[in-house]
Subunit: 471 residues, 2 copies
């Protein structure tokens, strides 16, 4: 019989049933509100940056002409309504590369002709994979990684992900042996490796990659003659030392501008985290590879950015003084929030992975596990959502190789809400830890397949369908 | 040796070298301007609707709050900046389905839960193909068709297009035998046919499909158990009788709501032509097929519409009285322009295909051909661009099965410019026709492959790279 829809449309394996997304659905059913629902779930699974909106809002108030399409006494409306060149508004690309340089401490000069605009970084990432890999070819990705990649990078492209296993023993750093091991795994699976895909600063770790790591990675990619994709959508959230080093800066430091590698490194960037504007869908690819840029530009037809939004943001980013102020204040706010979270958790005896970037911490709750298993992690997560009233993201949803770690977001709520969340954790740890230890939970321990089945069964209880495009 | 980029990225066959796009590049090099460049090329190859902008601009002037994100005394900016649910703004989807019904004479009631928003109809079309066809499976498409489909429907999905050959003898109508013949062609090529893809109203014909044609198509699709995709992005440009009949209306008329076919018909819509807003990238899929809608909604992550734009347009479309007025005035304007073009050409002895929709006419210039070949069509086209100074689109770029037809747009310029274009054509026909007839042009006539080579050689002379996303 003819299959009416494609395998792709019928496929269930696009990550939607990850606990990462299921946590959001639980939150949606019972969202915390200080007045309407004070015992509701606090959303700490959403990497949004709400800390510096006041700056953008006051910029908009001062620049009424811009949102009204007025320029030099005339209206830009017609021009914008008709503008659909897939190269994007030149003025927008010019200020975007300046912004990219600004948040990379001007160590790299970016050329607007190497930039492709996409409707969000989701699209940028997928486009890169379409350009780099045939169906069935593989990308190596360090764990833990953003759960959405299983959908974004594999679903329509047919590419495969092979994890580079990283461990807490060295703060989840990439090592030469971890890279080699992943490469061997791929070979065992008969997969051609086309590149390493990193997220720097890391989501969910909240850390930037060291120069040493970047050098290991570059050497590895050169040896194997493969690409490096560096998803740098959190570059603007680096709030503390060590300073952020972009993969392109690392290439320049090694004087690799004339090498083959110069054309095999590609950056993904976005305004969703750096400016806190995920709704405006601004993503981009930066690459020195002309052929790739030409192909990706044509592919950008499938997800162009509204010209209305390109125009507005070209004006905001074009205000260099404003942007400098924004970046500075945003960092301050992030430091403050990160500190609130870390010290709040420390009061409960919980430690965070040392971090210097991102809108979240990777939190070590191994002490709260009943056993060193992923079932215990799921059990604890369930408790944190249902009993403590916090939605956090379990490390297993990010393919973390060790149970007991959770990503906890701190920039998508008010200070008061964050305070309350810390109180709730504190109450839980103090009152429940002992009880929890005394009454072992009834979950099945055992080997891989059985374990996965247990998680899957539990996960099925939640309805599916949340449509949030968070990273 | 490892191929560094994918075949997809290296592939040259994505339609960019079509004369359709090359004409734009020629125009860009020497664009007409009444003051600055009065002898430049007039762009008649761009299906833009500039006729009713004054209405939208005055709406914006009257509704300053909307573009300033103000609502009920507060600002919507934060909410919009953060909104990234791939289901889209509910308010926007509600008014979109009302608008879809409005321009379909309220014969169909559309449900917002069956709607998927996409960044333009380019993305909507590709998404549908991803959902319907495996790589190597085929869609049947009536000729002539929009040149961009060769890229949009095939490039990344791996699907194939098999043309349904239509002819001027019956005004390029779809017949049962043409459908059967295309189906057989597909079978000869060992391709599984997954559906028929129509554009109704047709681009480039400017005609709507009759009830009879739709019934033939529905019966054919039912017999073969395949899908129908109806690209109805020109539905709002129908300016004359016969009235527009959507494929869904045709299903309802045949009481097929309970049949299998009800879930095998999918509509693509957009605001690019109907409201003249291609820059805002608003496209959508409408389908009664729940599974397809669920998959397409997830895929819409790769091309979401800016929330800023969703918000603005939800307000404009929500003003029902305004929209009724817009639709009415827009029709008047289109009738007037179509008449200007048709009578202007008639003065030169050139006829247009009888049409009732679209932003263009399909113009019969067979009399001006030196021979009944596609080389002669290319030769004439070159003359029209270079000597007459008009960029029109040759039928061959739309896979028309007969040489001598050209798509000529009338809604993307002022009346004065259209008048000038008509004068130029008139001068050309009166002064050049005889010369042209007396001096046979030196092009190679002959069989298929040789002919194609000739066209290709000529085409190569133009530089590539225009990025306009017109339909």
């Amino acid at each position: 019989m003819l299959k009416m829809l494609s395998k792709m449309a019928m496929c269930k394996s696009h990550g939607q049933d990850s606990s990462y997304f299921i946590g959001w659905q639980e939150y949606e059913k019972n969202p915390y509100d200080p007045l309407q629902n004070p015992s509701g779930i606090i959303q700490m699974g959403l990497a949004e940056n709400q800390l510096s909106f006041d700056l953008i809002e006051s910029w908009l108030t001062r620049n009424q002409d811009v949102i009204q399409f007025r320029e030099n006494g005339g209206s830009m409306f017609r021009d914008l309504a008709l503008f659909q060149d897939y190269h994007g508004l030149q003025a927008f690309k010019n200020v975007l590369v300046s912004f990219m340089a600004e948040i990379r401490r001007k160590k790299v000069k970016f050329d607007p002709k190497n930039l492709v605009l996409t409707a969000g970084s989701t699209s940028a990432n997928e486009t890169l994979i379409f350009c780099l890999a045939e169906p069935g070819e593989a990308l190596l990705i360090p764990t833990p990684y953003y759960p959405g990649f299983d959908r974004d990078l594999k679903w329509r492209t047919g590419a495969e992900i092979v994890p580079i296993q990283c461990y807490s023993s060295n703060n989840f750093r990439i090592t030469e042996s971890a890279l080699e091991e992943a490469y061997e795994q791929a070979q065992k699976r008969n997969l051609t490796v086309k590149g390493v895909f990193i997220t720097n600063p890391s989501n969910p770790l909240g850390t930037t990659m060291s120069r040493n790591e970047l050098n290991i990675l570059i050497t590895f990619a050169m040896t194997k003659n493969i690409h490096i994709v560096s998803d740098e959508i959190y570059a603007g959230t680096v709030f503390d030392s060590p300073k952020f080093v972009s993969i392109i800066e690392a290439l320049i430091d090694r004087k690799l501008e004339k090498s083959k590698m110069w054309n095999q490194v590609h950056i993904v960037s976005s305004l969703s985290k750096d400016l806190g504007l995920p709704g405006f869908r601004v993503g981009m690819i930066y690459s020195n590879n002309e052929t790739l840029i030409a192909a990706a530009t044509k592919m950008s037809s499938f997800g162009l950015i509204s010209s209305q939004t390109q125009y507005l943001l070209s004006k905001i980013l074009g205000d260099r003084r404003f942007i400098k102020r924004y970046v500075k204040q945003n960092k301050k706010q992030l430091i403050h929030r990160r500190e609130m979270l870390a010290s709040g958790l420390a009061n409960s005896g919980i430690e965070c992975l040392d971090s210097n970037a991102g809108l979240f911490c990777f939190v070590d709750m191994r002490d709260l596990l009943n056993s060193n298993t992923f079932e215990a992690e799921m059990e604890l997560w369930k408790k944190i959502i249902s009993n403590v009233g916090l939605n956090v993201s379990p490390g297993s949803s990010c393919h973390c190789s060790e149970p007991g770690w959770f990503r906890v977001c701190f920039a998508n709520m008010s200070k008061e809400t964050l305070d309350l969340a810390m109180q709730r954790i504190n109450n839980f740890v103090n009152s429940d830890r002992d009880i929890h230890r005394q009454q072992p939970l009834r979950f099945v321990t055992g080997a891989g397949s059985r374990r996965r089945r247990t998680i899957a069964n539990w996960v099925v209880k939640f309805s599916s369908g949340d449509g949030r495009r968070d990273r």
